[in-house]
Symmetry: D2
Subunit: 158 residues, 4 copies
């Protein structure tokens, strides 16, 4: 099975807080999306924007969230994302959001994505996409062999 991982840092925006003083729950899904976006750009070698431009869409079909701790305005968070491709025409991203310094967990969960065309009709993953994934996984394996472990540097762009 192919697995690719990436790590992204971002800060909690004021607009993402609510009157309880922590982030509003739905923001977690927006952070998950930021994680997916950077993982694809940095590990897959093709941005999700480029994927859509080629007519391949990855709408969410399922999401699960476990809320584990608060996060306040301006807190620096780490989004750790891993994508898995199974034999079926689905992608699954596992995500853990935690505090950058203390590593305390904030929220973890997963999202499952279908492959569709521009009109939302399910399609098989194109062969060029599967090859891209396999090549990215090979690169990861080679890097792990060279260094004795995979430790992707953190991206600080959101």
């Amino acid at each position: 099975m192919i697995r690719l991982s990436d790590v992204l840092e971002l800060r909690v925006r004021y607009s993402e807080t609510d009157q309880m003083g922590t982030f509003y729950n739905s923001r977690a899904l927006e952070w998950f999306e930021c994680g997916r976006t950077e993982l694809m750009r940095r590990r897959l070698g093709m941005s999700y924007a480029a994927l859509e431009a080629r007519g391949v869409f990855l709408p969410l079909v399922e999401a699960h969230l476990d809320f584990q701790g608060g996060a306040r305005y301006d807190d620096l968070l780490v989004i750790s994302s891993t994508v898995e491709v199974s034999g079926r025409a689905k992608l699954r991203f596992e995500v853990l959001v935690s505090h950058a310094e203390s590593r305390k967990a904030v929220v973890c969960g997963y999202t499952v994505h279908a492959f569709t065309d521009r009109q939302g009709k399910p399609i098989r993953p194109p062969a060029w996409f599967t090859q891209l994934l396999a090549k990215a996984a090979d690169n990861v394996a080679a890097a792990a062999g060279a260094t004795g472990g995979v430790s992707p540097e953190t991206s600080r762009l959101s």
Copy 2:
């Protein structure tokens, strides 16, 4: 000059609050949009969705907001919107958001909209749209003549 007015009630959502305990500032623009949507459906006789389906878009080109008071989660608000059409190819919506019971002001402002096609290219307002507006204004004038004043009932849908 043609003027149409409408009134919409909505409640502050938890997702619209921030850690200061009141609504986050950008929500005001989202409420303004709810006001425009219902004004067009109820006063113009054509929803904005139907307008877009006919290839006419009204993107925002300018917005101004004056924040005048707080509004907390679950507070019932009144959005009073008035659209003006001037000779130029622009629409201008004036909006006042206030508390439903106390009538205390929350935020007021305006938005200015261009007419464009689906690709965002500026267009002249179509003749059928101008006629729709004129007819709606006539209806308002006739209703005002019949009742001695215009008092649109409030919509409670959002």
Copy 3:
């Protein structure tokens, strides 16, 4: 086990759409919150705002979402929510969002909530809250006995 149900209608806001032309996935959690808010006000006889004012908070600890169909700007949706109270100090809301006319499913899922104080410390559900729930459930049972079935009228406020 105590179960209370409610139905709320709302329209998809322009701000809730994304470039795929349907609603952005995280909005589902915001609609779930609108459903909870009205269910508590209408079925429990105490709004969530009043609950917080008495020092009882219900932060989300878990959420699950199954996306089943699109919903476009201005589509009228029905949010059907049911709350369950188990013996443990948790509340669970089951939610189904569907199109008001066609009844086509849009998204379904659940949220699980802990009871905490203002500082976020877990507490047992207060006795007055449990009694409120029990009384609300009795009212539902009595109404069902009187009419031969429960069919809550739909709320159109959001």
Copy 4:
């Protein structure tokens, strides 16, 4: 008059787009806030979070936005913010959002902020805050003298 400037890069999130294919208008105010947050942390030497922790709040009292061009999902944007302090107890931030590569304008505008305490009551800017600003402005002037011009490096955190 004291003026401090800063530049922040961020990418348009999928959650910030709407069905027109560009960013939804209210996101501009959220980006303005990201610009203010980094300007204060990097130029003032005190984050807005720290300011609030000391009991000083800067709620928005006025905002103006001119929308000048589209920005699509994943586009890299530059937020250029400048804060001005006048004799009155107000702060004014001027903001220009443009495309990082083409420098094409996306949206520009300003926000005006009052000084209040935690309860929202207007206060005078504390002396320590005014001194902090004056010192930051001196640093800018000294740096400009040393290099013959001010060109703050861009922050890539959001």
